[in-house]
């Protein structure tokens, strides 16, 4: 790898901190950005501490690509790491970064991969073309009412054959997204009505009448496969699976466990080890097929009776990358997926194969967030007075919150989600990791107050409660 590279960190908070640390580890220079809101964030302080000349700039918005690229040019950056969120899965940004006159390396998949896998229909068709299981239903927009009805009818029959007592069918606008233009249908008699409603909605909203019709899968676990590949795109490896089923009411992940199932300590109604193997193999096949050339996550759902379906592919490093790293060893050494992403992204070959990767124990990641689980996970805003945890060798905590004291509190910026820290706990088995996790949460000190003098609210109790539900249906 060329160590002359300078990486623009186009992100904030925890991931910015992690990327900075990874750059330092790799001996790369970096440039970090912040907005006026974020002046006192830990990533700014760390950039001052670790960075050299021209390594910290104030910008007007993290969402403005022009601002980032202008800084990249000014600071002499040669690569961009988008982190997660913001521009991480924006193929236009990736395209612009690599195709502008002063082109930079986009540390992430090439833009065509991002574009192709960013489209859910395209992903589904790709999956089907190589026999990867997907949710039963149509894999292309349906424009014809009779055809739609036929698909819905077979879907109901199919579910009954599968022994599903209450079959459900999902009708959604193919051009839609973000939960708009989706409805459930309970029986075939109401289908036509719903179909017409969605079709008309899609026509008005997206100028495209296409409708997707799928089985509505209920009662499932949400699994992920962590994939990494170098720029050749030929030799992807995986770093195990994760189970992300514990979520807030708004379908936001709160607690992730690796590996995805633990048949050694929990009894499942199916062969869990085989399912995990199946989904990792499918994920790698698909990565090879598209020439995937960075880190990425294949998201699956696995039903209670052990049927996996591919949902989507996240073409970015994910928040929960640390938990996969925690259970993985490469040639016996610890691994940092962010560093690996940067290293391969800048052109290094992977340097190892799947056989070199081994897995040990169980890992848990807690997302510590200032929010109120009792009132719909409403974000809490105010000052943090104290934030302390106990250093243990089975625990690693990533945060951008600077050390705070009642005299010098840290104000949570209102512009962003109030994520405070990621606590990654490791244990030899599920029982040990649960105990460690509870121990960690027990000793966590998180105090603060808001403008009205009310104490800080956080999801720590929620996480404690959910610890015993890990990896179960």
């Amino acid at each position: 790898m060329n160590r002359k590279h300078k990486v623009l960190i186009a992100n904030r908070g925890e991931i910015a901190v992690r990327i900075m640390q990874a750059c330092k580890k790799l001996g790369l220079e970096f440039v970090s950005v912040y907005t006026a809101e974020d002046v006192s964030s830990g990533h700014v302080a760390l950039a001052r501490e670790l960075g050299g000349e021209k390594s910290l700039y104030r910008i007007s918005s993290y969402h403005d690509a022009n601002e980032l690229l202008c800084i990249a040019d000014e600071a002499g950056a040669t690569a961009v790491h988008p982190g997660y969120g913001f521009f991480a899965e924006d193929f236009r940004f990736a395209r612009r970064v690599t195709e502008r006159e002063r082109s930079l390396v986009f540390i992430g998949p090439s833009w065509r991969v991002i574009r192709d896998l960013g489209d859910k229909i395209n992903t589904k068709r790709l999956a089907r073309s190589i026999g990867v299981p997907t949710v039963p239903g149509s894999d292309r927009p349906i424009y014809d009412e009779l055809e739609a009805e036929k698909v819905a009818r077979t879907l109901f029959e199919y579910q009954l054959q599968q022994g599903i007592a209450r079959p459900l069918v999902l009708v959604k606008a193919s051009a839609g997204g973000g939960g708009m233009g989706i409805e459930e249908v309970y029986d075939i008699d109401t289908f036509r009505q719903v179909y017409r409603r969605i079709r008309n909605y899609a026509m008005r909203q997206f100028k495209d009448e296409g409708v997707l019709i799928e089985q509505r899968v209920t009662d499932f676990n949400h699994l992920e496969v962590q994939v990494l590949s170098d720029r050749s795109g030929r030799n992807p490896v995986h770093f195990g699976t994760r189970n992300c089923s514990i979520q807030s009411t708004g379908r936001q992940k709160r607690l992730e466990v690796a590996p995805g199932f633990d048949p050694s300590s929990i009894e499942y109604g199916f062969d869990a080890a085989a399912v995990l193997d199946e989904i990792t193999q499918h994920s790698l096949n698909m990565a090879r097929k598209v020439g995937y050339d960075s880190v990425g996550t294949w998201e699956w759902i696995v039903t209670r009776d052990g049927h996996p379906f591919l949902m989507e592919v996240n073409t970015r490093i994910q928040v929960e990358n640390g938990v996969s790293a925690a259970i993985s060893r490469v040639k016996g050494q610890e691994v940092d997926l962010i560093a690996e992403q940067i290293r391969t992204g800048l052109g290094d070959a992977l340097g190892y194969t799947q056989d070199d990767i081994t897995f040990h124990g169980v890992g848990v990641e807690y997302r510590i967030i200032a929010e109120d689980p009792d009132s719909g996970f409403a974000p809490w805003v105010g000052d943090i007075d104290r934030f302390q945890w106990e250093e243990r060798d089975w625990c690693r905590l990533h945060t951008h919150v600077p050390s705070a004291s009642p005299e010098k509190p840290y104000t949570i910026p209102t512009e962003f989600d109030p994520n405070l820290a990621l606590g990654i706990i490791w244990g030899r088995d599920l029982a040990e990791v649960s105990a460690n996790g509870l121990d960690f949460l027990e000793h966590l000190v998180l105090e603060g107050h808001n403008g009205k003098g009310e104490p800080l609210k956080s999801n720590v109790e929620f996480l404690k409660k959910k610890t015993e539900r890990m990896l179960r249906f």
């Binding site: 907005t35 006026a36 700039y57 104030r58 910008i59 007007s60 403005d64 022009n66 601002e67 690229l69 202008c70 800084i71 000014e74 409403a378 974000p379 805003v381 105010g382 104000t411 209102t414 512009e415 962003f416 989600d417 109030p418 808001n450 403008g451 009205k452």
Partner: protein
């Protein structure tokens, strides 16, 4: 609440505000030939269609953008040493001294002398939709509010929660927040004029109208 006369005297001692003109985003700055002491104006015209005085041009990604004055006043300082250099977002480029108009003076006095309802926390604030249309169509002084009334929507982190007004019954006399911008905790959102204070308020207005001399 302070005495009106006292506040007015204080304002007379310093009848202007000085505001920095900042770079709206990063880029390379080129100043126009505007001199210190030059008169500038903000957006004018019936539809605010005439742009303000051109102070500098900031170029980012080969896209030049004009930095315009947004207030009437005098160019107090121009940081000409920045000419031709790269600046970060928010870097001050100059200072405009803006002499208070009568209306602004009244607004300031009222903020001191009437009941001000303040922002409980840092966030963006909006009026509830029905109040908002009323304020926009007929002006804020047509809206009477009372204690416990749902008046605002507080928006932060993409979530919106309602906020109730607490304080004396009266009309909204003035509004101090901008829907686009965050309001700091403790900053006044509105001032409220109870019916019994209305004559006093009108006195203030009359007094300012007669006493205040608008500067250049």
């Amino acid at each position: 609440m302070r005495d009106i006369a006292e506040v007015l005297e204080a304002l007379k001692a310093e009848p202007y505000t000085e505001k920095e003109v900042c770079a709206p985003h990063s880029g390379v700055i080129t100043f126009t030939d505007i001199a210190e002491g030059a008169k500038v104006h903000g957006f004018t015209g019936m539809w605010k269609e005439i742009p303000g005085t051109h102070i500098a041009t900031i170029t980012r990604e080969k896209n030049p953008r004009k930095v315009l004055a947004n207030e009437r006043g005098v160019m107090q300082k121009v940081y000409r040493e920045l000419d031709g250099t790269f600046v970060e977002s928010g870097t001050p480029l100059g200072v405009i001294r803006h002499y208070l108009t009568r209306q602004e003076v009244v607004s300031r006095l009222l903020k001191e002398s009437l009941y001000a309802f303040c922002a409980p926390e840092r966030a963006k604030y909006y009026f509830t939709p029905d109040i908002d249309t009323k304020v926009k169509m007929l002006g804020c002084r047509t809206v009477t509010i009372h204690d416990g009334m749902e008046l605002f929507i507080v928006s932060r982190m993409k979530r919106e929660v309602p906020l109730c007004y607490s304080g004396p019954t009266g009309i909204i006399y003035d509004v101090y927040f901008d829907q686009q911008k965050n309001v700091d905790a403790g900053a006044p959102l509105i001032v409220v004029c109870p019916p019994d204070q209305q004559s006093a308020v009108e006195d203030v207005v009359a007094r300012v109208q007669s006493e205040w001399v608008e500067g250049e």
